[in-house]
Subunit: 328 residues, 2 copies
């Protein structure tokens, strides 16, 4: 049986949407700036427009097959049963809104046909995308971590999403690895996100460079000017050129991630880790120290079968996963 779906990744700055064929993956996609000007109902209208236009453009050969529905990954707390989205970060004017119901009604009107909508937390959708189409497809069980502005996560157990009793599972970024340490983020001390979220990496690099002026890091000029002129990409490039302080930054990022993975293995017995998000572009600079730290941080009996792999779908994972949720 062949079928297709529309997968959407609703973000604070862009809405990315794709026509996804079960067999072939993404066959068509579009991205538009998120309309944050008129609250939830504005978003519903924008989503309905986008879906209608993708529907209209879907290739004729796909239209002969079953349409499985619309999958939507969104930031914030998603109640997959009630179809609500609560307090999405970066989307002003929301509290708890029945996004699925409103979107289904708008689509009924627009397309003159019932279109089932599945909504899911965006980090979960990305993990599920990797599970079905990406780096997780050979793993029954894995944790996906997304390294970016924040540190997000999603868990796949027995090839299905593990959402937890109230749907908020997977938040590896809020595991605590340094409970008496100096780093405080979102009011909490020593979380992984508070130590290796994008801005914290830059902060740490600048601190290291200022504290070691004799080293003459390739990044000194950028740090002494202004914090905001330095990005993880600079630190990545400098590290690849051998800059010792930049290498030390990634060593620390990887170590903290490895400590977190050790906790995941101890608690859940998950031994496969898919690492994605913009920061993961640093690749081996992060993965190698993460693996070494994992080994140092676990009993030998926990080492069997451990794998850390790079995510494969980049910023399309959310669209893939949202669509794949319709195929279940």
């Amino acid at each position: 049986m062949s079928c297709w779906a529309i997968g959407i990744d609703l973000g604070g700055t862009a809405v990315k949407a794709a026509v996804v064929s079960l067999q072939e993956g993404i066959v068509l996609d579009r991205s538009v700036p998120t309309d944050t000007s008129s609250g939830p109902e504005g978003i519903v209208a924008q989503l309905a427009d986008l879906i209608a236009s993708l529907h209209a453009q879907a290739p004729a050969n796909l239209l002969r097959h079953d349409f499985s529905g619309i999958g939507l990954g969104a930031p914030g707390a998603v109640d997959t049963e009630k179809g609500t989205l609560s307090y999405p970060p970066n989307l002003p004017g929301w509290t708890t809104f029945p996004l699925r119901g409103y979107l289904e009604s708008a689509l009924q009107e627009r397309l003159q046909a019932a279109s089932p909508v599945f909504i899911e937390n965006d980090a979960n959708a990305a993990a599920y995308g990797e599970a079905v189409y990406g780096a997780g497809r050979n793993f029954r069980d894995f944790l996906m971590v997304t390294l970016g502005t924040g540190v997000g996560g999603g868990i796949v157990l027995n090839r299905k999403l593990y959402r937890g009793p109230s749907g908020t599972a997977g938040e590896i970024g809020f595991m605590i690895v340094d409970f008496e340490g100096p780093s405080i983020h979102a009011g909490i001390r020593g979380t992984i996100e508070g130590m290796i979220g994008k801005e914290r990496i830059v902060e740490y690099a600048c601190r290291l460079i200022r504290e070691n002026p004799a080293e003459g890091s390739a990044l000194s000029a950028l740090c002494s000017q202004d914090f905001s002129s330095l990005s993880p990409r600079h630190i990545e490039r400098a590290a690849k050129e051998g800059d010792r302080l930049s290498l030390a930054v990634w060593e620390r990022v990887g170590s903290i991630l490895g400590v977190g993975f050790a906790g995941v293995t101890a608690l859940m017995d998950i031994r496969k880790f898919v690492i994605g998000g913009g920061i993961s572009a640093a690749g081996a600079l992060i993965f190698e120290p993460a693996y070494r730290q994992f080994i140092r941080s676990t009993l030998p009996s926990m080492h069997d079968g451990v794998e850390l792999v790079h995510a494969e779908l980049g910023n399309r994972a959310g669209m893939y996963g949202a669509a794949a949720l319709c195929f279940v």
Copy 2:
């Protein structure tokens, strides 16, 4: 339908076994010193003797009902499918041994009837005992932590044991909360077990007392004599009498536990915690700081429904849980 089973908790010092009625719980139990003198086969013989004697003593009214089998909780790595027990701590002379098969054969010979044996890790068995007969019976999902010489754990999801892909899940004691800290245990830095295992609590108390001689703790004499003369029970009593340094010890134990629980909630969305083991006798001295630290260590969205409760079955949880596994 009524039925009964025999539940066994195989430990390094004692084998505890009970006749358990599905409805009435433990109706008869015995404890004998573990025979560690002749390896796995000695244990099998000892278990078969114990089971045969309990069988012989089971009340006549029970014998009219179905016998569901023998449940056995054991320390170390248990493969519930293969029925093997590997490297049990405190049981010398074991590598990996097919305990279930040997025990079933011995029982066939002894009882002249097939007796199905279920084996399970002891911390999981204790968690399952609390789930069915104890403090977890009103929780669909919880983590049980056992505070003793080590810090063990078991996870119940949707009223079933969560064992993880290879059967080693639940090891909250090996989550890391202080990855650069001074405490190293089993070669790993900053694990929960390495900070609040029984000996570490005593060590910390002695350090605190030596570093604050002016305080005149009620425990000073015990610490200055000899490390080993101090026990958590002393620290508990002194704290209950208001000894400031002893209170600080439990404050720290609770805080570290609260940090661990925060990680469990972030990762697994589990919000119920059952706290057992000998050290948990300190009760509110641990639970209150643990709860406060949990609140400090989590986002407000993670606070809904959080409960920390004392285990109810004490050192009978393992027998209860092992038997309950036969009723599934």
